[in-house]
């Protein structure tokens, strides 16, 4: 499904793979909810480092493009919940809040702890869709 990345191009290999996967999703080669080939298979087929493949998958999961399901593998994220877009939307919100916190005088450590405690609070409350 994918073709071997070019190691000598200026773009890091894991980034090239990320682009290929995104492209595959855009062109319909991979559909929402479909399973991606395992990292091992991709590494073997493309003859590239498995850690690099894993790194690409992790980044895509972070961006919300794919989901990793424990024990099952990697799947394309369902339609309508394009994580990437969500993240892009959220960033200015968080940035504004953080700028204000800096204005108040919070340190980096304080901001981090505050954020984590808020995440925990969210977990305990029912999620509003």
């Amino acid at each position: 499904m994918f073709f071997p990345p070019n190691p000598s191009s200026g773009v890091p290999v894991y980034r090239q793979l990320i682009e290929q996967i995104r492209h595959a999703i855009e062109t319909g080669a991979l559909r929402a909810g479909e399973q991606l080939p395992g990292t091992r298979k991709v590494a073997e087929d493309l003859v590239m480092n498995p850690n690099t493949v894993a790194k690409a998958y992790q980044e895509l999961e972070h961006q919300g493009v794919i989901e990793m399901r424990k024990g099952l593998g990697a799947f394309v994220a369902p339609e309508g919940r394009k994580g990437g877009d969500l993240v892009q939307k959220a960033q200015p919100v968080l940035r504004a809040a953080m700028d204000r916190m800096v204005g108040i005088g919070l340190s980096e450590e304080q901001m981090r702890r505050l954020f984590e405690s808020e995440v925990i609070r969210l977990r305990q409350e029912p999620r509003r869709e």
């Binding site: 071997p4 190691p7 773009v11 590494a43 073997e44 003859v47 480092n49 498995p50 850690n51 690099t52």
Partner: protein, 295 residues
């Protein structure tokens, strides 16, 4: 020392007579990584690998493989029990066949993988009844690699594993390595002159020059740090402006590591007409770092 490093050395030294083949080598190879070990001929690669395998005695410093001391005889034997090795010298002893050699080797490794051995016998096109002592160079490399791969080892130390192989066999070899790492989390530490191959599968690189490690880093990070910078000036470039820069008329070119922003800022301050920053290949980095090469 931590156990998430497959190999770590600290100021490792090897002296032969009056000369240091390895003079203060410090490197760290994470477990489960594929690490390319680069260096010019005579830089100390083979000596380092032999020290890790306990074949050559350590003159100074210390080293560990899989958490075990390389300089201790008993621990070294244990290292060899868990390590697959391809040496620079790929000749085999005795007039026995390939098949017999496999059976012999198998006896020493409880973790031997017969399915892998079978698979690579076919993939590498090794005739089981051929005499091991009389193989061609390419077949020898393949046999050496097979013996290393099928051992069920946690660590592979390979000295020029693709020597003498044609491109399709090289691809088979690289694929075999990648497959082993993916499946078992084996660490691969291999020296090679074929930078393209290293660039293809390695995620970590160590460069040794005149017995010292000049680079020991993840490949992605190396490539992120290094940049080719080309500066064009209106008139003659200012003298002594940039360390290691090559001058070509009004153009200065250099390989920058880690301080690209500073260089760009200075170039602009010196009224450079054009500042061009490009990514680099592993070859660029290697050539830059191996200045003290074999002349």
């Amino acid at each position: 020392m931590s156990s998430d490093l497959a190999i770590e050395t600290h100021e490792l030294r090897k002296r032969f007579g009056a000369k240091d083949a390895v003079s203060g080598l410090t490197l760290a190879v994470p477990r489960g990584s594929i690490c390319g070990f680069l260096g010019s001929n005579g830089a100390g690669k083979t000596t380092t690998l032999k020290m890790l395998m306990g074949m050559t005695k350590v003159s100074g410093g210390e080293g560990r493989a899989l958490g075990l001391q390389i300089a201790d005889a008993r621990q070294s034997t244990e290292i060899r029990r868990r390590t697959g090795f391809v040496s620079e010298d790929k000749r085999f002893p005795w007039s026995i066949t390939v098949g017999e050699l496999l059976r012999f080797t198998r006896a020493f490794y409880p973790g031997w993988r017969p399915a892998l051995a079978e698979r690579y016998l076919n993939a590498f096109r090794l005739p089981p009844r051929a005499s091991a002592g009389r193989l061609s160079k390419g077949l020898r490399s393949r046999l050496a690699l097979l013996l290393a791969l099928a051992r069920g080892a946690e660590l592979l130390l390979l000295d020029e594993p693709t020597e003498g192989l044609d491109p399709s066999m090289i691809e088979e070899a690289l694929q075999a390595l990648v497959s082993l790492v993916a499946e078992q989390g084996t660490t691969v530490f291999f020296s090679s002159h074929q930078l393209a191959n290293v660039e293809q599968i390695a995620d970590h690189v160590c460069i040794i020059d005149q017995g010292r490690a000049v680079v020991s880093d993840s490949l992605d990070e190396l490539k992120a740090r290094y940049r080719r910078v080309r500066l064009v000036f209106e008139g003659d470039p200012p003298p002594g402006g940039f360390e290691g820069a090559r001058r070509d008329g009004r153009t200065l070119s250099l390989l920058a590591s880690r301080n690209v922003d500073e260089i760009v800022a200075r170039a602009k301050a010196m009224k450079a007409r054009s500042v061009d920053v490009q990514p680099v290949t592993l070859k660029d980095i290697f050539l830059e770092c191996s200045k003290g090469a074999s002349s």
